[in-house]
């Protein structure tokens, strides 16, 4: 696979077509697996790491569920390309450093990705557009079964799938939903939501921004617990809680619109004005403004652009993407200029 081809391709999960796409950007399920008979990655010798890589490569080639998928060797691609794959949510930041014996299996729709030799030998991931953990589970379960026919996973009847970190043991399943919650944020309801969530075995983190201060009101909610429940129970739990959060976000949006129509309309059009006019723009400012535009579309304050375009901009405006679009390395200042130009182009009326 040519990584550059992805640059002009629309990822399946960015289409903005999935269920509840107005509040949910994407749903993701990840399974952690290790091949039995080897040390975990951290303590494995370079020789063992190569063997693990080879075992997995051989298994992947035989899997029907992974037909047509490509296997990238991390050491054979540039650091910029690795960064690029992180920005597309196809692998973790931890997978960028020390590329020796690390790999990535990727299907052409960017739905399935498998990190080889990350913290665990395998980190299988399935991404779906909108609120759709059920479909993500259906796909990943089949891939997992397919791989298990060809690889002996480290498993104990008591503890389940054994992982390098005890926080992942059992199902090895992490379900994450990426949410856009601007109305709950504006009405200061987020804190109470977050407190309730943590009591229900889920965790939340801001998708952008440092520490607790989130930028653009995008949040990722995931299950904390992986042991003691079946996979479908874990997924049901996330779905139930998130459905309630979505419901609250939507009613708050409606009441905001009826009570503060002028203010919100003003805010949305100002955001659009800035994005269509700026010559220099940081990624933080971009995220904040795109977040407002996204709300404006859902509340029918503006009709354009399509959510798909917004989702795409969130990906394209990141450093590695900008540099790949430009075809050369850019300084942070140069990126701010390139970013502004790209946004003007995409939001042209």
């Amino acid at each position: 696979m040519k990584i550059d081809n992805l640059l002009y391709k629309e990822s399946e999960w960015l289409k903005g077509t999935g269920p509840k796409a107005n509040t949910v950007i994407s749903s993701r399920i990840r399974l952690a697996r290790n091949v039995d008979g080897y040390n975990f990655f951290t303590t494995a010798s370079p020789e063992t790491k190569r063997k693990i890589f080879d075992d997995i490569q051989a298994a992947v080639k035989k899997c029907k569920t992974l037909k047509g998928a490509s296997l990238l060797s991390m050491k054979e691609i540039t650091e910029l390309d690795r960064q690029f794959l992180v920005e597309r949510h196809l692998m973790s930041l931890e997978h960028v450093a020390e590329p020796e014996s690390k790999g990535l299996v990727l299907d052409d729709k960017e739905v399935v990705s498998i990190m080889i030799n990350e913290e665990d030998h395998l980190r299988i991931q399935v991404l779906q557009s909108g609120f759709n953990l059920t479909e993500a589970w259906r796909i990943i379960d089949a891939i997992d079964n397919d791989l298990a026919e060809r690889l002996r996973f480290a498993f104990s009847p008591r503890y389940g799938f054994l992982t390098a970190c005890p926080t992942n043991t059992g199902t090895g399943l992490r379900g994450s939903v990426m949410l856009h919650l601007p109305a709950l944020a504006m009405t200061n309801q987020l804190n109470s939501v977050f407190q309730a969530i943590s009591k229900l075995g889920l965790t939340i983190r801001g998708l952008y921004g440092e520490g607790t201060e989130a930028t653009g009101e995008f949040y990722q909610i995931s299950n904390q617990v992986t042991l003691g429940y079946s996979e479908t129970d874990l997924i049901d739990n996330i779905e139930k809680i998130i459905s309630r959060i979505i419901g609250r976000e939507n009613t708050t949006r409606a009441s905001l619109l009826s009570k503060n129509k002028e203010e919100i309309t003003d805010k949305v059009w100002r955001a659009m004005g800035t994005l269509r006019s700026a010559r220099i723009i940081t990624s933080n400012e971009t995220i904040t403004l795109l977040s407002t535009i996204r709300l404006g579309i859902d509340l029918a304050i503006i009709k354009e652009p399509d959510v798909k375009v917004l989702n795409e901009l969130f990906i394209l405006m990141q450093p590695a993407h900008l540099q790949k679009l430009e075809g050369k390395a850019l300084s942070p200042q140069e990126r701010d200029v390139k970013r502004a130009a790209l946004i003007r182009e995409k939001l042209k009326s």
Partner: protein
């Protein structure tokens, strides 16, 4: 050996605690152990209570708490405490007394309820004696945690029997 507290009944519960590199031992009868259960749990910590009672099966390094080591991969428990990652899948058995309370704290459970590894589902063979041993050790931990010391002693004896029948070979490997 008589119980350290009542000095009337046979001591069957043995506790080991390491304070400032000094090994302190207590020998109690079941009745006194039960009575002192709560006090001991706070004083010794449940894992130490376990070590005292579960004076078998666990690799010998376990006794010197500082040198707790996985017999399969050589990973030290102290390394886990530093980096938060285990050395190999067998570490889960090697450090079971330490990991079970941790798993319960993280997940509220220490028992897998999810899907099985496909190969195991198909195999459906009898659990091996090693697995059986492992299950017994888990039951023992649970009995101790629930302060069911009489039950714990019964389980302990079963474990000893099973271990004896498993022979010397493994024993030698641990040394």
């Amino acid at each position: 050996m008589m119980c350290d507290i009542c000095n009337k009944r046979e001591a069957t519960v043995h506790l080991t605690e390491i304070i400032n590199d000094k090994v302190t031992k207590m020998h109690l009868c079941e009745a006194c152990a039960k009575e002192k259960g709560e006090e001991m749990e706070t004083h010794f910590g449940i894992s130490d209570l376990l070590q005292g009672l579960a004076d078998f099966g666990v690799p010998h390094e376990v006794k010197g708490k500082k040198n707790l080591k996985c017999a399969a991969c050589g990973f030290m428990f102290s390394d886990f405490q530093k980096i938060g990652r285990l050395g190999c899948p067998k570490c889960y058995d090697s450090f079971a007394p330490q990991l079970v309370p941790l798993l319960k704290r993280i997940h509220g459970s220490d028992r897998h309820m999810g899907k099985l590894a496909l190969k195991m589902e198909k195999g459906k063979q009898q659990p091996s004696r090693v697995q059986e041993l492992q299950e017994l050790k888990i039951k023992l931990q649970e009995a101790i945690a629930g302060e069911a010391f009489e039950e714990a002693v019964v389980i302990r004896d079963k474990i000893r029997q099973l271990e004896n029948s498993l022979g010397q070979r493994e024993d030698n490997e641990n040394r």
